[in-house]
């Protein structure tokens, strides 16, 4: 996938690129408004990550340019501003998602994948991992084409694992993905363990093995 990262903080820009490139994505980074306008005018991208508060302009104007061009790119706004008006304005202008800093890169990755799946550009709503197939439209999971019944949280958990396959996911990241701001209620994160355990039980013996523990308290979804 070709991804454009418009972010004026070089350090953040580099980290995002590093994280996404590991999945084989092709990342281009820009930190200046003018440069970003030029890039979106000339090239096509699958995903544009857009910081709203650029030093010399607003990311929303770049969003408008993309929309005028009828670009097929999925657009995710990354903003330090949690203000609702900004969020609504961004989504109204046609952004596909809106993330507030600070965010987990794994979460960003899962949002990118979701935008690609929903894609107006012929995205595949099926997510596959060996014998696992997740139909994201009907929110159903099949193992060897046999559907298995998962709770909402278990489904979200499995999808999060699959799209972030091969990466270490701490309990904190998982908890925040599943519960958002309420996740600080979990004092010992036992509940993450409970949900993961339930998920493992519902998957087949072979597939359950994909969920591995890492460093004692983290998780990693990976085939042997």
């Amino acid at each position: 996938m070709k991804i454009l990262i418009v972010e004026d903080e070089i350090a953040l820009q580099q980290s995002i690129a590093l994280f996404l490139e590991r999945d084989g994505n092709l990342c281009e980074v820009v930190s200046e408004y003018g440069e970003a306008q030029d890039k979106v005018a000339i090239y096509d991208y699958d995903i544009v990550l857009l910081d709203i508060n650029l030093d010399d302009g607003s990311g929303l104007d770049i969003l408008r340019r993309l929309k005028r061009k009828k670009a097929q790119a999925g657009i995710i706004i990354i903003s330090a501003n949690s203000s609702l008006e900004d969020k609504l304005e961004g989504l109204d202008l046609g952004a596909d998602d809106y993330m507030t800093k600070p965010f987990h890169l794994a979460e960003l990755n899962s949002r990118i994948k979701a935008v690609l799946r929903r894609g107006k550009f012929g995205g595949d709503e099926q997510v596959r991992f060996n014998e696992i197939r997740i139909d994201t439209r009907s929110r159903t999971v099949y193992v060897n084409d046999i559907s298995i019944a998962l709770t909402r949280k278990e489904y979200d958990l499995l999808l999060f694992f699959v799209v972030n396959q091969g990466r270490v996911l701490s309990k904190e990241i998982i908890a925040e993905h599943l519960w958002g701001d309420s996740s600080d209620l979990l004092d010992n994160f036992d509940f993450v363990y409970v949900h993961i355990n339930n998920l493992r039980k519902k998957l087949s013996k072979e597939t359950a093995k994909y969920i591995k523990t890492a460093y004692g308290s983290g998780y990693k979804f990976i085939a042997d």
């Binding site: 350090a11 330090a80 949690s82 800093k101 600070p102 270490v168």
Partner: protein
């Protein structure tokens, strides 16, 4: 608590003052007129008596026979002199057939070695008969004048103060959020013009300050969230490099937790500032019961805590900003979960205009009055961020709800009255 001072409407107040002043003036001038006229009439009466006495004495001195006409005039002889004196006396009036009040003048005159007493009298009642109509007509004319003046004044006052009331109405509808400039009605009264000018200046300054504050909040949030995002991303990339060990992983996840804490602290501060700045103007009807059920369902996936929801009376319909309603309930429930005993259920009672959430506790808090203060922590509770209840309080204040705490039957109960 301070008692609210009684207030009056300006026009009513001036009308009342005018009325009161009119009545007092009527009474005072009436009394003055009454006494002054009576004094004049008395003078006149006494002059008449003196002049009649002088006539009688002149007749006596001429040596003519003067016959008494009781009770109006009596002449008698005596062996001793009397001081000339006026006095009032009640005498029987044969024509009126009843006792009447008379004013009498007693004089003494000595003629041919004989001492005569001359007493002349006149009806007092006659002077009163004159006095009363005079005072009465005076008072009615005065009262009539005041009455007319009262209505003229009232009308005039209303017209005079019209620009003032106009400005007041505009000022009441003033909103910091609105970009519309405040325009006050023109007036040819200098003070009102000055007042309007001052108001325009003040409100303009308020708007500028408000915009700056809003900008500051946004900047602040931007400036702190971005470095946090960078640290977060760097830590995550380190974790995903394969050459770290479990100890390093532990350290790195600890950093992640602190990042989260900081960013939540930041988010809470911004939320409080935003409520202060009235940045949640949109309102919608909130179904309290349904919202609570949703929250409980969500909580049940992340805590084993049991909730007992009982709706004793259908809650009254609430108009609130949806985000604030969520924040209110989230903070109340989170508080109960954090400080409750995980094995004992949390009760939630809904009455018509009251929401009570109680969690188990052994004894009452040490400083319940500080509970709603920002950054107050009861004891050293590791899970506390010192924000939850101050947000609850702020939201309640914002909507005029009443938030309170009591310790009852081994439960810490937080109550919100809508």
């Amino acid at each position: 608590m301070l008692r609210k001072k009684r207030t009056y409407k300006l026009l009513q107040r001036t009308s009342w003052d005018f009325l009161l002043l009119s009545v007092v003036l009527c009474i005072l001038t009436g009394l003055a007129l009454f006494f002054y006229t009576r004094y004049l009439l008395d003078e006149e009466l006494e002059e008449q008596l003196e002049s009649r006495t002088a006539f009688v004495i002149a007749e006596l001195e001429e040596g003519r026979q003067v016959t008494s006409i009781p009770p109006l005039m009596e002449i008698g002889t005596s062996d001793r002199r009397l001081e000339k004196s006026f006095r009032d006396t009640m005498l029987y009036d044969p024509f009126e057939n009843e006792p009447e009040l008379f004013r009498e003048l007693t004089s003494t005159v000595e003629l041919d070695e004989k001492i005569y007493h001359v007493i002349v009298r006149s009806h007092v009642i006659e002077s009163d008969d004159v006095l009363e109509p005079i005072v009465a007509s005076f008072i009615s004319i005065l009262a009539g004048a005041f009455f007319v003046l009262f209505f003229l004044n009232k009308k005039r006052n209303r017209k005079l103060w019209e620009p003032f009331f106009g400005s007041l109405t505009r000022l009441k509808s003033f909103s910091l959020q609105s970009d519309e400039p405040l325009i006050f009605p023109e007036s040819n009264i200098q003070e009102f013009q000055e007042l309007n000018q001052e108001l325009v200046e003040i409100t303009n300054k308020l708007k500028v300050d408000y915009r700056n504050l809003k900008q500051f909040t946004a900047d602040m949030s931007h400036e702190t969230q971005t470095p946090l995002a960078i640290i977060q991303a760097k830590v995550e990339n380190i974790i995903n490099q394969n050459d770290i060990n479990s100890t390093q992983y532990g350290e790195l996840t600890a950093i992640q937790k602190e990042i989260k804490r900081l960013s939540q602290l930041n988010a809470n501060l911004i939320l409080l500032a935003k409520i202060d700045n009235h940045q949640f103007p949109e309102q919608e009807p909130i179904n309290l019961t349904r919202l609570l059920k949703e929250k409980i369902e969500n909580f049940s996936t992340l805590t084993s805590q049991e909730f007992q929801l009982s709706v004793k009376k259908r809650p009254k319909s609430l108009m609130m900003n949806a985000n604030l309603a969520h924040a209110l309930l989230n903070n109340l429930l989170t508080n109960a979960v954090k400080y409750g005993d995980g094995d004992k259920p949390i009760f939630i009672h809904i009455l018509h205009n009251e929401l009570a959430i109680g969690n188990y506790g052994k004894k009452t808090l040490r400083n319940p009055e500080k509970l709603f203060d920002r950054f107050y922590k009861e004891g050293k509770h590791p899970k506390s961020n010192g924000f939850g209840l101050s947000i609850v309080k702020k939201i309640c204040d914002h909507y005029g709800f009443d938030a309170s705490y009591i310790f009852k039957e081994n439960h810490h109960v937080f109550k919100v009255i809508f």
